[in-house]
Chain length 359, copies 2
DNA sequence: TTCTCAAAAGAGACCGGTCTCTTATTGCGT
DNA sequence: ACGCAATAAGAGACCGGTCTCTTTTGAGAA
């Protein structure tokens, strides 16, 4: 690669110092806003900086100070409205405190998550917020912690990692949602999640390494069993990782002879695709299939019928975790906090009694 | 602020060099992957790096090389699905080429846009992608260009700024959309946009400084006039900047005695809110009001009726602009390109003949 | 065996800031 | 008028890499 031409080498403190006839140190004091300088000199330096159009090099600044003013965020999938809203919460809190955010996608894949963490540490971010995609391999998260950079966990807890964590009570809220369906009379309830496992078939909770989803499935199964439902786990479906995959899962689920009469979707992207498949097959909500989804995505209130949802405080989730992290960045030392934000269910029109279709 | 304890000072090339009994320069050659080193020494250094758990400091690296491997992106509103999808396109292209993305929101406000640009330049990003919120004040964009960093424009062109630009033909596609409504018999067609202007009331195109929206309104008005509609500009509505504002605009629009029989919404967030207001007022789509919106957001296909949309190639828009920028970052020099991506209309069920309600 | 020359390793400047330490200037009390 | 401290400015090291230039090494040719 040919070295690019000298370009317009950018203006440095030394340039400004020379123009203002002061030492580099003095110019730096003015431009960096530290130390103590007389008003006359300050004015001179400022004037020189202005005419030269000086722009500080944050890179150099970060290198000496050791802090970059950047918070690294690693989420599963930015396109998922859940994450974009959470990221918005993080960004707002960060901006308010004078921090910037650099965002990385893990695609819910552990190798990509590790790569993202490595990259962000390389960029010397001041702290990290991660939604860990797996609870098995967390060596890279321990590394962050060990490197002295604060880490905070979003939406998913890691029992083995004692750091600031903000989640919702997934088990409890899944129980409530399931109970709504059970109370409506449903006995064949499906749970569809994006999380995948070896063999792509659900066998037991031990397969699920995403804490939020494990808790949800746990809650779901508990209520099902309490309601006297036989082997509820046969309706747990994994691997709805993309619209196409979700479509495949939903098609299979709805075409079998023992198709469920109700579905609980683990996120709004999944619910949207399931809703499409239901429509496409000429089925009706809630007459033929009842539907509840996690995340109060905007579209859920404009469908006919509108969808009953688990309304997680997504924005607050992001905002809180960022605030926790920032407090630590500002030097606060206290034992790690595990915040659990309250969650509610918004009942709309997508739940009804089960269809009494003969098999 | 108390200086934080020494922490675990991170491992540097010098540390590795010492451990491997070689000079700093040699260790740097191995770890930086440049220059020429013998295999035995390379192995030694690698081993030392491994045991010490060396992580390169990208900041220091960037400072000497002058390139950071980061592309700065400034968009109007990350929460708007239009932008999140475009950003996804940018991120994918960037990752494929080994670049990272740092994202900033302008909130469509020129001062914030300037601040964001200043910040990103300070962070020494290699190049910038901006959706300029105004065509009046572009001094900060000229600055970028002048500083030798490539700039590319997304979704909005700036006639005065000759840089790589990727847009769609907004005027043309707005004409097509309007024609669909006019052909259906509508004579009272409203155009609702988030862009605001002094006085919040539309008078003429000269008020509108967002190129895409100006072109759309231009196309809209042209077709209206061609169809013999009298003073179509009285139905142009500005300032739908938030759900609340949109709701206010829509309420006012739909409550007057001469309410329009069709609405063209400038983005999917606006359309969603308008759709809600229509429903809330007991009106039906398309019997009472026809509706077309820009951006094929996911929800538009699951409403009853599904919404007719202008399907901009949003992901491709982001991907293309990033690719253009990256080619330039890799040293390609050629006259700036202005790419205009093809756009189509997806006709669904939200357009019908006008209601023949007596005023 | 000696000489040549390319390959491999080392020394140290540099990037653009911050920051400590030193030096020069000023005001003030006595 | 003198000493003293406080204040303002300067000198230069440093952060952790890259990279140029110099020195050392060793293989092959004469």
């Amino acid at each position: 690669m040919k070295r690019t031409a000298p370009k317009t080498r950018s203006i440095t403190v030394s340039d400004v110092a020379r123009a203002a006839n002061v030492s580099k140190a003095t110019a730096a004091r003015v431009l960096g806003g530290y130390g103590v300088v007389s008003d006359t000199i300050r004015a001179d330096v400022m004037a020189a900086a202005k005419t030269l159009d000086y722009r500080p090099n944050e890179l150099a600044r970060s290198m000496t100070t050791g802090r970059s003013g950047i918070i690294g965020v690693v989420v599963g999938d930015i396109e998922n409205p859940f994450f974009s809203l959470a990221v918005r919460g993080i960004s707002d809190a960060a901006r308010a405190a004078g921090f910037n955010v650099i965002l990385a996608n893990s695609g819910e894949r552990i190798e990509m998550e590790k790569a993202a963490v490595r990259l962000l540490i390389g960029k010397r971010v001041d702290g990290l917020i991660v939604t860990p995609s797996e609870s098995r391999d967390i060596s890279h998260l321990r590394d962050i912690h060990r490197s002295g950079r604060p880490l905070a966990l979003l939406d998913r807890a890691l029992p083995d990692l004692d750091v600031d964590t903000v989640t919702v009570d997934d088990r409890c809220i899944a129980m409530q949602a399931t109970r709504i369906l059970a109370d409506a009379g449903h006995r064949n309830i499906a749970y569809v999640t994006a999380v995948d496992a070896e063999g792509h078939e659900y066998r037991d909770l031990g397969q699920i390494y995403t804490s939020s989803v494990r808790e949800r499935i746990d809650g779901f199964l508990t209520v099902c069993r309490d309601a006297g439902i036989d082997r509820p786990e046969r309706y747990v479906r994994l691997g709805a990782t993309s619209p196409d995959q979700t479509r495949r899962v939903a098609d299979k689920l709805l075409s079998g002879p023992d198709r469920p009469t109700a579905i609980l979707a683990s996120d709004s992207l999944i619910a949207l695709e399931i809703f499409r498949v239901i429509r496409q097959r000429g089925l009706r909500v809630p007459e033929d299939i009842s539907l509840i989804t996690f995340h109060d995505a905007d579209w859920t209130s404009v469908t006919t019928p509108p969808i009953t949802v688990v309304d997680q405080p997504v924005y607050a989730l992001g905002k809180s975790v960022a605030e926790l992290l920032i407090r630590r960045l500002k030097g606060e030392t206290r034992p790690p906090e595990r915040l659990i934000l309250p969650t509610a269910i918004i009942e709309r029109g997508s739940v009804g009694p089960p269809s009494n279709r003969k098999p």
